[in-house]
């Protein structure tokens, strides 16, 4: 082998070391380092998106702050009326007394005792002492004062569709929204609450004698059969979005906790009076929390605590999906369903939207 060849190929690789390693061009190392520092900073920025739970938490925090501010803005405590609160000019008004009884459109001069819930339906109006309430207002009497909460979800009228198979499915026509029941005003002209859709009583649990720890209730099971497993929910399963979380302390109380999704789907099978009820509780819910599905008939608002003409249709614990079959009875023509999430003490954590279906 001549001078240009090698018996050992590995030795040949030594040729690549023959002239040594050249130094990089001046400034190369510094330039690359600067580029790397920039890239490092960009990399840190790009890989720091808030994790899913962080985003939810951030959104919940924003929602809580906004609602807390709104609630604070609309809480009105007029001590001047604490001595005696009278309802007058009631039109389209439902008053729920502390004992759970309800009175529609009470006569002028109706006394409002502590713990009374007053709901003014759409188009209705009422006056409590010198405060006028417009449609959509929801107020309670607490500590002798008129307390309104901004975080009220509206009743969503259901659209009953009739698919080809004859079944009817109620779907929410609008997402829940917050209404402004009563503006803040302690002096000046008597404020009038803004008109809006009929609200449900969501200002918090009405303090009644029946309020207390939740007793688990077995869901209605179809006769002669076991409760079927929950079917997969369709893509259009109504999810009202994050439901305003309450601490269960009642209306006007500081809002705490995180947003919890409550979904509800009700479907009438054929011409029967059997209603398939499926509900879901979002993953943000605590495993100990109990979801209850309440059914009312007519224009009675479905809410917790259970009032007159209210029936507990089903219950579940923690996040997940559940279902039940409800049989409202042949006399029922219009029924309403709602999911309410309760904590271990029976306090309301969150409320879903009301779904209404027509039967028969």
């Amino acid at each position: 082998m001549n001078d240009d060849t090698h018996d050992d190929p590995i030795e040949a690789l030594g040729e690549l070391f023959a002239d040594g390693d050249p130094e990089p061009t001046p400034g190369f190392v510094d330039r690359v380092e600067a580029d790397l520092r920039i890239a490092h900073a960009e990399r840190d920025r790009n890989r720091r998106p808030a994790p899913a739970w962080g985003r939810v938490g951030a959104l919940a925090s924003v929602a809580v702050v906004v609602l807390a501010v709104a609630t604070a803005g609309f809480i009105w405590r007029d001590r001047s009326v604490s001595s005696a609160l009278e309802l007058t000019n009631a039109r389209g008004v439902v008053v729920t007394l502390p004992d759970g009884s309800t009175v529609d459109n009470p006569a002028d001069g109706f006394d409002l005792p502590e713990g009374t819930l007053v709901v003014v339906r759409t188009g209705g109006s009422a006056t409590i002492n010198d405060v006028s309430l417009g449609g959509g207002a929801v107020v309670t009497i607490r500590d002798g004062a008129l307390v309104t909460a901004a975080s009220v979800t509206t009743t969503v009228a259901a659209v009953v569709s009739r698919p080809a198979n004859g079944s009817r499915q109620a779907t929410a026509t609008a997402p829940p929204e917050t209404v402004r029941p009563t503006p803040t005003a302690t002096t000046g002209p008597v404020p009038t609450a803004t008109a809006g859709p009929v609200p449900t009583a969501t200002a918090g649990p009405v303090p009644t004698a029946t309020a207390g720890p939740v007793v688990p209730v077995e869901p209605v099971v179809p006769p002669g059969g076991e409760k079927p497993p929950p079917p997969p929910l369709p893509a259009n399963f109504p999810h009202p979005g994050p439901t305003v979380a309450h601490d269960g302390a009642g209306p006007g109380a500081p809002i705490q906790g995180s947003a919890v999704d409550l979904g509800l789907r009700v479907r009438v099978a054929g011409r029967s009076h059997r209603v398939d009820v499926a509900w879901s509780v979002g993953p943000a819910a605590d495993p100990t929390w109990q979801a209850v599905v309440i059914r009312t008939s007519g224009d009675v608002v479905a809410d917790w605590p259970l009032g007159p003409r209210s029936v507990l249709v089903g219950e579940s614990r923690g996040p997940g999906r559940s279902d039940a079959i409800d049989e409202p009875g042949p006399e029922a023509t219009v029924v309403n369903y709602r999911v309410v999430l309760l904590d271990t003490s029976g306090g309301v954590v969150a409320r879903g939207v009301v779904q209404t279906v027509a039967l028969g």
Binding site: P9, I10, E15, L16, A18, D21, P22, V32, A41, R43
Partner: protein
């Protein structure tokens, strides 16, 4: 060719020992730009020299060195510490980039280098022994690169990591992602293949 140019390769050794604090530096470099810059400073010379030996081009060496550390930054969260430190991982990135570089250019790169050597032979006047030696050294290095570039990419990586980066057998195996036994087999086959290519390149010389 002098023996001095050959012996370092017969018994390859680490280009430098792993600094005792490198593991901690690597951990910090995942989120600390200063730490990553320190790592870069420690290894940029070795990586640059390695790439230059493989490519014979200062310009390409700088491009690929820069790319090596950019890739290292992008992937440092996935780096798992091994006893050999971070160097084998960096050399693996670099040798992959070199292989890709040659693959992109195709075998024409080797042919181009050979033509460049031929042109150099034609132009240089051999006035002095030093000049002749210089040209011959360049010639030999270029021919070795031609032969090396003609190997399949895996063999290129084996020989580069083992003999041009100076990694120990185990480190090179880790950098290749193979076990010791397979590394031995690959090294043996790559060496044989390099020998055949060197012979072929010699025969192709004008």
């Amino acid at each position: 060719m002098t023996d001095a140019a050959v012996f370092p390769l017969v018994e390859p050794s680490r280009y430098e020992p792993v600094p005792f604090d490198e593991r901690e530096l690597v951990e910090r470099a995942r989120h600390d730009a200063d730490a990553f810059a320190e790592l870069y400073r420690r290894h940029v010379g070795a990586i640059h020299g390695f790439v230059y030996r493989r490519t014979g081009s200062r310009e390409v060496a700088e491009d690929l060195t820069s790319a090596t550390f950019e890739k290292a930054l992008a992937g440092i969260d996935r780096f798992r510490w091994t006893p050999g430190g971070i160097a084998p991982w960096l050399f693996r990135i670099a040798t992959n980039l070199v292989t890709d570089h040659h693959r992109r250019r195709g075998r024409r790169s080797g042919d181009r280098a050979r033509r460049a050597v031929d042109r150099l032979h034609d132009r240089v006047s051999f006035d002095t022994d030093d000049a002749i030696e210089s040209v011959l050294d360049f010639d030999r290095a270029a021919l070795v690169r031609v032969a090396l570039d003609r190997l399949n990419p895996r063999y290129q990586r084996v020989l580069s990591l083992r003999y041009l980066a100076g990694l120990e057998h185990d480190e090179a195996a880790r950098a290749m992602g193979v076990n010791r036994s397979l590394m031995s087999v690959l090294t043996h086959r790559a060496t044989k293949a390099l020998g055949r290519e060197l012979q072929r390149v010699q025969e192709e010389r004008p």
